[in-house]
């Protein structure tokens, strides 16, 4: 029974979650594009000659946060940069994409990316428990951060505990690659065949949390990852 559950999480649910996520994001974007444009400018002065460039800088370097909340800025930048690296590192696992040399048994960052994310997400979570941010927060704010924390923690377990075995790696980058290769090629192969050993449960939990994250994403504030740029462009132009 548990094997069938693991299989569902590791294969069909991944497809469902990705499809759900992509459709949800597309629906959100379509709905937004269908809404009428605002009739007046929402710009804040002074003007810049290159509003798009300024909006890009605003989006990717968070200058207003740096100015008013330097510590939050540090963790936000750590979090977001590490998140991008995390996506790259996961894509790197797919043999067809292999971004860096396939020789290493480690994921990109050797586990440091995950730790950076875990620490920064903990900071983001803990600051929510303090006034006045606590008074502004709604359940989804905590739940999303908690979900991310659990997701990152299981990821850390996988990437760190992975190399604790006496014989070196329990599971290597190449093993994960084999699992993802099966997913990419729609082989519907049971992943437990390529991801052997005691870590399989942790991996299943990790994938379950990732699936949940993908399913919630289009309907949550995490959509700011797509809309931060157009938002900043409104302020700039």
């Amino acid at each position: 029974m548990i094997d069938r559950l693991y299989y569902f999480i590791m294969v069909p649910m991944v497809y469902l979650a990705v499809a759900w996520c992509l459709i949800g994001i597309a629906a959100k974007i379509v709905r937004l594009l269908k809404a009428p444009q605002h009739p007046t400018t929402l710009q804040i002065f002074p003007e810049t000659k290159t509003p798009l460039l300024a909006a890009l800088v605003d989006t990717f370097t968070l200058p207003t946060v740096r100015e008013h909340r330097p510590l939050l800025w540090f963790f936000l930048m750590t979090f977001h940069v590490a998140f991008v690296l995390l996506i790259v590192a996961h894509l790197d696992l797919i043999p067809q994409l292999s971004i860096v040399s396939g020789a290493s048994h480690h994921m990109i960052g050797h586990g440091a990316v995950g730790v950076a994310l875990t620490v920064s997400v903990l900071y983001l979570l803990f600051r929510r428990f303090r006034a006045p941010v606590r008074e502004l927060s709604v359940p989804s704010d905590y739940i999303l951060l908690l979900l991310l924390f659990c997701l990152f923690l299981t990821g850390d377990v996988i990437s760190w505990a992975n190399s604790w075995g006496q014989n070196g790696f329990v599971l290597s980058k190449q093993d994960f690659g084999a699992y993802l290769n099966g997913l990419v090629k729609f082989t519907f192969q049971d992943p437990s065949e390529v991801l052997s050993g005691g870590h399989y449960t942790v991996i299943a939990v990790h994938v379950l949390l990732a699936n949940l994250f993908l399913m919630i994403l289009p309907f949550s504030k995490i959509m700011h990852s797509f809309f931060a740029l157009p938002l900043n462009a409104l302020r700039r132009a």
Binding site: L42, Q43, F45, P132
Partner: protein, 439 residues
């Protein structure tokens, strides 16, 4: 709240859901960076006086009625019912905020609380809960525009009666009207307020610069914008646009009234004429040497309050400072200035609404900054700010005098300029003529 009314209100809400509004309502992460942005929070640190809390009052309704998550799991983002009790929160969003948009310079996404506030204001109008004084003023404004022909003659007479005061500040040449009306092909249509303080100094300055100008029959202020009624805002602005087009003017200069400028410049589309603030015009005259100012007239330290509607919302930061530096060598900026300037606390109609206690307490941060400069003159370029700042100085017992930039300039005009030298012998004539006419 009756179902019918709720339905109507939700339709009003839906009409406001532009792309920008949806972006603002969907993406706030409640990071709290905006908390300290608000002058009200700075003066009275309660969470409800933060930009994010005000926005949440509307966002939680949006969640309930316009989002899937609010329908499936209302607890997720704390979706709320639209009912009579919640309308009190909607009121807080609309009228504890002055729409200064300082918070927009804190938010990492640049979420515009002003836009969210406009939804709140519309819901209040729709449920007949808006401040009646603001609606009354908007209605008076509209009625005035419709009956303008009936009052044109007496307005012209009243303007003639002001000419002697204009001439006191600047001697006009013989045969010229000190306050011209209905000038076809004028370069500048000056749109003033009802009060003579917004006509007399401006007229003297434009006459000194030898401007070909005309005074508008209409007042600049737009109460439709204060109450948040887009239809009335447009109707009030349209008659100035019509007048400018009829006279074929090149520029419309808006008197020192922030809302009037923002509405005309940024909220009424493109025009056949250029829209400027009167301080821009003064700065231009100074740059071009068309007027000269006597620095010895003012022996005081001057500071300047940036009116939100012409500064953050209009980009007029340097012109007033340029002018003031022609009036004194002792100009000091407030600690938070230009883009970072705190609101005076009277914006968004608050100065008219009557809750003086809130207005005074919520703007303490401004008073503290004025005090720290040691300035004895606090200049500004907005009628609304002027009223509020004057009340503040009195309430907190400061000696600092609040003055319009135009008023300071008019009092310091050097009578003999290169462009217009008026012979002493003839300078008396217009005064005599006009006094006779006025009597």
């Amino acid at each position: 709240m009756e179902e019918n009314q709720k339905k109507e209100l939700l339709e009003l809400f839906a009409d406001k859901l532009t792309r920008a509004a949806r972006l603002y309502l969907d993406n706030c992460t409640r990071c709290g960076v905006c908390i300290e942005a608000c002058h009200v929070y700075q003066s009275m640190p309660e969470t409800r006086y933060t930009a994010v809390s005000r926005a949440q009052n509307i966002r939680r309704l949006y969640e309930k009625y316009f989002k899937l998550s609010g329908k499936i799991a209302p607890w997720w983002n704390e979706a709320v019912e639209l009912d009579d009790a919640w309308m009190d929160r909607v009121w807080e969003t609309a009228y504890t905020c002055t729409g200064c948009r300082r918070c927009m310079t804190f938010c990492p996404f640049g979420i515009d609380t002003g836009l969210i506030q406009s939804i709140a204001k519309l819901l209040l109008i729709g449920s007949d809960r808006e401040p009646k004084v603001l609606t009354m003023l908007a209605d008076v404004s509209i009625s005035k525009g419709r009956n303008i022909e009936a009052t044109k003659k007496s307005f012209a007479q009243a303007v003639r009666n002001l000419e002697a005061e204009v001439i006191e500040k600047w001697r006009s040449e013989g045969g010229e009207e000190a306050v011209p009306l209905d000038v076809q092909g004028a370069d500048v249509l000056y749109v003033a307020l009802a009060g003579k303080h917004s006509i007399v100094p401006a007229a003297a300055i434009m006459n000194a610069a030898g401007e070909k100008w005309s005074l508008s029959y209409f007042e600049a202020v737009n109460f439709g914008a204060f109450v948040g009624n887009p239809k009335k805002t447009k109707e009030i602005a349209q008659r100035i646009i019509d007048e400018a087009e009829r006279l074929k003017v090149k520029e419309v200069a808006i008197c020192e009234c922030g809302t009037a400028y923002r509405v005309m410049k940024h909220m009424t589309g493109k025009h056949s004429f250029n829209v400027i603030t009167f301080v821009e015009l003064i700065a231009r005259y100074l740059r071009e040497g068309r007027i000269k100012l006597d620095k010895s007239k003012i022996d005081a330290r001057i500071t300047y309050h940036d009116p939100c509607q012409i500064a953050r919302q209009g980009g007029i930061y340097e012109e007033p400072r340029y002018i003031l530096k022609h009036l004194t060598d002792d100009f000091v900026d407030l600690q938070s200035n230009r883009r970072a300037s705190y609101c005076c606390g009277g914006g968004g109609g608050l100065v008219i609404m009557g809750d003086k206690e809130f207005r005074m307490k919520s703007a303490k941060v401004k008073v503290d900054e004025v005090k720290a400069t040691g300035a004895t003159i606090l200049a500004t370029a907005c009628e609304n700010c002027h009223s509020q700042l004057s009340d503040l100085m009195e309430y907190y017992g400061l000696e600092t005098k609040v003055q319009f930039v135009s008023g300071l300039v008019a009092d310091a005009l050097v009578q003999e300029t290169a462009s217009r030298k008026v012979p002493a012998a003839t300078s008396e004539e217009p005064q005599l003529q006009l006094t006779a006419k006025a009597g």
